[in-house]
């Protein structure tokens, strides 16, 4: 070991330690001056603030930890909705970008260029403050298909009322497990005998039949509860029953999915273009049908290119969902790093918990992606 290698390392380490030491010393002094003690005990205290939209039961008498869970679940909810729609729009637009039809191609290109060059925050504000504010009041709303009500106060959709919901869920789990077995069997059969089994149609069939059986014999029963208009006061109306999606959720999910879809579309386009023409021609020349070419040759190679950047976009979407704080959608940042922080004044604890939550989420996903990349990488001889 020579000095040229050790000295820079020592100096960096020293600098890092000095900075951290400086910060923590100041933090201690500041907290002593303000009479706060560091600790996470406040999490079990009564929170005494209300959240207007929550997936689990929550009111002011619950603890701060419960408020944290409410925020986390809301973040997960909007991210999942956003991811589903972004994927659908992104794949469609990405394929449209590859079309040889000039009009379709250009329309998709205009969409991509337009939506990705405008800040996401601006889009969220646009949907929330401008577009959704133009919707009618509850009493003037024309129902869509008779059961959906899109109003200025939110989107009211019918809800299912279940009997024996657990049996239904078991049936779906059973279907998934049997599909996994079918896949394993099909793979073995193809390796041994070279015969392909129609796995896709079998899986769809299983997914349909088992739940239907549970309806017929398992005593599962679902009825639909349609929202009904209700008068609150002289001029105040709302809908009762069904599920209410607040406008904050709608505008956030809309903006997130429209914005992220542009990036996913580019990933899809790059992935399909990344499969060389020779591959398709070679596959066609050994007698595969166009469907088989797509399924067995193009898609596996394209997915290898598409999936890593797309996962990155999903991660970005989840992180971007924290912009919810700007329109008062009660997500993790607003509920916990906003309201809870204001009430307790515990800046260090709360900001660190919030950051750690996002950090653990993205690090676990990136570890998974590294594993996945290694697994699907082409094994070169």
């Amino acid at each position: 070991m020579n000095i040229k290698k050790i000295l820079p390392q020592l100096l960096t380490l020293l600098a890092v330690i000095l900075i951290f030491g400086f910060f923590s010393y100041n933090a201690q002094v500041n907290m002593e001056n303000r009479g706060i003690t560091f600790g996470y005990g406040f999490l079990s205290q009564e929170s005494s603030f209300d959240v207007q939209f929550s997936l689990i039961e929550y009111d002011g008498s619950h603890s701060y930890f419960r408020a944290y869970l409410v925020g986390l679940l809301n973040t997960i909810l909007v991210s999942v909705i956003g991811i589903i729609f972004a994927t659908i729009i992104g794949v469609v637009v990405g394929i449209a970008r590859l079309s040889n039809n000039y009009l379709i191609n250009k329309t998709a290109a205009v969409y991509v260029e337009f939506f990705r060059n405008i800040p996401l925050l601006l889009q969220i504000f646009f949907w929330y403050f401008a577009a959704l504010r133009a919707l009618p009041l509850p009493q003037d709303t024309e129902p869509m298909f008779g059961v959906f009500f899109l109003t200025i106060k939110g989107f009211f959709v019918p809800a299912f009322v279940w009997n024996n919901l657990d049996i239904f869920i078991y049936s779906i789990i059973a279907a998934v497990i049997s599909i996994i077995f079918v896949r394993i069997y099909a793979k073995k059969k193809q390796e041994n005998e070279g015969i392909q089994t129609p796995v896709l149609s079998i899986s769809i069939g299983l997914l349909l039949i088992l739940p239907i059986l549970s309806f017929l014999f398992g005593g599962v029963d679902a009825s639909v509860e349609v929202p009904v208009i209700k008068q609150l006061s002289q001029s105040g109306f709302t809908y009762d029953g069904g599920i209410k999606l607040p406008p904050e959720l709608i505008s956030l999910a809309l903006a997130l999915s429209l914005y992220t879809a542009t990036f996913i579309a580019e990933c899809v386009r790059a992935g399909v273009q990344g499969v060389s023409k020779g591959q398709k021609e070679a596959a066609a020349s050994i007698g595969l049908t166009p469907n088989q070419v797509l399924k067995l040759v193009v898609m596996p190679q394209a997915l290898r290119i598409i999936i890593p950047p797309t996962t990155n976009q999903y991660l970005n979407l989840t992180k971007n969902s924290s912009l919810a704080a700007a329109i008062a959608y009660p997500d993790l940042v607003l509920v916990f790093a906003g309201t809870a922080l204001m009430q307790t004044g515990r800046a260090i604890e709360i900001v660190s918990i919030t950051m750690l939550t996002y950090l653990s989420l993205s690090i676990s996903i990136s570890i998974f992606m590294n594993w996945y990349n290694k697994k699907i990488a082409i094994k070169e001889k």
């Binding site: 040229k4 290698k5 000295l7 820079p8 390392q9 100096l11 960096t12 380490l13 890092v16 400086f22 910060f23 923590s24 100041n26 933090a27 002094v29 500041n30 907290m31 079309s99 040889n100 039809n101 000039y102 009009l103 379709i104 329309t107 260029e113 337009f114 060059n117 405008i118 800040p119 996401l120 925050l121 601006l122 504000f125 646009f126 403050f129 401008a130 577009a131 504010r133 133009a134 992180k319 971007n320 924290s322 912009l323 704080a325 700007a326 940042v333 790093a337 922080l341 800046a347 260090i348 900001v351 660190s352 919030t354 950051m355 996002y358 950090l359 989420l361 993205s362 690090i363 990136s366």
Partner: protein, 480 residues
């Protein structure tokens, strides 16, 4: 005369097919056009569903009839090839054309025909269209925030001067070309810093930090003349010495007295805002995040373990958290980490936070470029006897950076699009100003106009940036 087979148009009855098809298409487009522009419904005598779908069906049949391969007419062939290859494509093309025709009139009327721009109060906005008067009245606020009106020439002057100084590269003669990098990396940011932080704010030119800045600049300039063998020791010892000398020995009080710009009114950063703040924040973050990201990426690929793991930790931490929490940290948590008498301006804190955040992304992009270089480049440089820094500056980085131009441009675009987030700490750039103007009781109900205006501005800025990066990419593309 050959038999007509309408299911399979061919060249034999070419004219018949062509004329029938073109008439049908023209009819369908004409119907939709009349309907959307003049509100006349030619086919209203038909039952509802049919009259709704009739243009689509007519156009579809027309497109089917003119789908004749190798007709010999250039225009027809190109139409067939581009929008009319098969039934499905024809259907989609028609749909897009109809949607465009249908949506043009409302858009036109909202933007131009029914819009108002004259006058200077809300009362002139009576039409159903946009109220551009609102933008006109608030224009100064959207551009300059709360910056006092009589002082706004300072912002304009600084930006014009900086734009001119930024264009120097295009006019430099061959003789000065080799100094351009030095100019853009060191001199230009410092000039910009002086302009923005002293001319626009009008505060005292010399404060505690400026000793550090001056010390750093002098030692970097002197550093070019030091033999590379001693460079490392030099850069550790000399800047600190300079700082101490400047601060405690040489003219301390005198400089502060000298640096006060009595003529300019002091405008605190809280009053800055609007589009100019967007530019200021993006500009400084761009300048700072690139070198930090470069060093982080080099650190991540270094074979010195401590440096490597510190770099990995930095990169993964900043990449793992949303920017909004970073800004929260800089506004509520960071003051706890500083001594009570040390106050760092809000704007400076925000710029530091965004720079560190984006630097992690820049680092990952540059790492991609470094990894893409073949091993042979490193080996060749080493076999020529180059040291670590010489190898990277002369051989590795020029190639690696060339490769990652698109990635860096994307990161910079993301940075510009992230600047509106500074509303978290109470700084109002253009989107923040829009939200403020929207809640003004005199001007309620014009949110749409404001957001459309800002969207168009951002679109122009970001689109220009992405096109410029594409040009750069093409310019520096080398065959490999």
């Amino acid at each position: 005369m050959n038999k007509l087979n309408f299911l399979q148009p061919d060249k034999n009855n070419f004219n018949t097919y062509l004329y029938t098809g073109v008439i049908l298409i023209a009819l369908s487009i004409f119907t939709v056009f009349l309907n959307s522009f003049f509100n006349r419904d030619l086919i209203s005598f038909l039952p509802g569903t049919i009259s709704f779908f009739l243009p689509l069906i007519l156009g579809f049949i027309g497109l089917h009839l003119i789908r004749i391969d190798y007709s010999g007419y250039k225009f027809l062939d190109s139409v067939n090839k581009n929008i009319n290859t098969n039934n499905f494509n024809a259907f989609l093309s028609l749909l897009i054309v109809f949607v465009i025709i249908k949506s043009l009139p409302p858009i036109l009327s909202w933007f131009i025909l029914d819009a108002n721009i004259a006058g200077d109060s809300k009362d002139v906005c009576t039409g159903s269209g946009a109220c551009w008067t609102y933008i006109k009245i608030w224009f100064n606020r959207f551009m300059y925030g709360m910056y006092p009106n009589p002082e706004q020439w300072r912002i304009n002057l600084s930006f014009i001067a900086l734009a001119f100084l930024g264009c120097v590269g295009f006019f430099a003669s061959e003789k000065f070309k080799k100094y351009l990098t030095l100019y853009y990396v060191v001199v230009y940011p410092i000039i910009a810093f002086f302009f923005i932080f002293f001319f626009i704010s009008g505060g005292p030119i010399f404060f505690d930090f400026s000793y550090g800045i001056i010390a750093a600049v002098i030692s970097i300039v002197l550093g070019f003349f030091i033999p590379s063998k001693f460079k490392m020791y030099y850069f550790i010892i000399v800047p600190i010495t300079f700082y101490i000398l400047l601060k405690y020995v040489f003219f301390y009080e005198e400089l502060i007295e000298l640096g006060k710009l009595e003529a300019l009114e002091w405008v605190e950063t809280g009053a800055w805002g609007g589009l100019s703040l967007t530019f200021i924040v993006s500009f400084f973050c761009l300048i700072f995040c690139f070198p930090i990201g470069l060093f982080l990426s080099l650190g991540r690929r270094s074979d010195l373990p401590i440096i490597k793991y510190i770099s990995i930790g930095m990169i993964e931490f900043w990449r793992g958290v949303p920017l909004i929490t970073v800004l929260f940290m800089s506004s509520v948590m960071f003051p706890m980490f500083l001594p009570e008498d040390l106050f760092i301006d809000k704007l400076v804190r925000v710029i530091i936070a965004i720079s560190l955040f984006e630097a992690a992304y820049v680092a990952e992009v540059i790492r991609g470029g470094l990894q893409a270089l073949p091993r042979g480049q490193y080996d060749a440089a080493k076999s020529l006897g180059m040291g670590y820094w010489k190898m990277h500056i002369l051989v590795i980085l020029p190639q690696a950076l060339k490769l990652v131009i698109p990635g860096i441009a994307n990161t910079f675009l993301a940075l510009v699009k992230d600047t509106p987030l500074i509303f978290v700490v109470g700084l109002l750039e253009i989107v923040g100003m829009l939200n403020l103007a929207k809640t003004n009781p005199e001007w309620l109900g014009f949110a749409m106009e404001g957001y459309v205006f800002a969207s168009v501005l951002f679109f122009i800025i970001c689109y220009a940036m992405s096109k410029y990066s594409y040009n750069l990419e093409q310019k520096y593309k080398t065959e490999r």
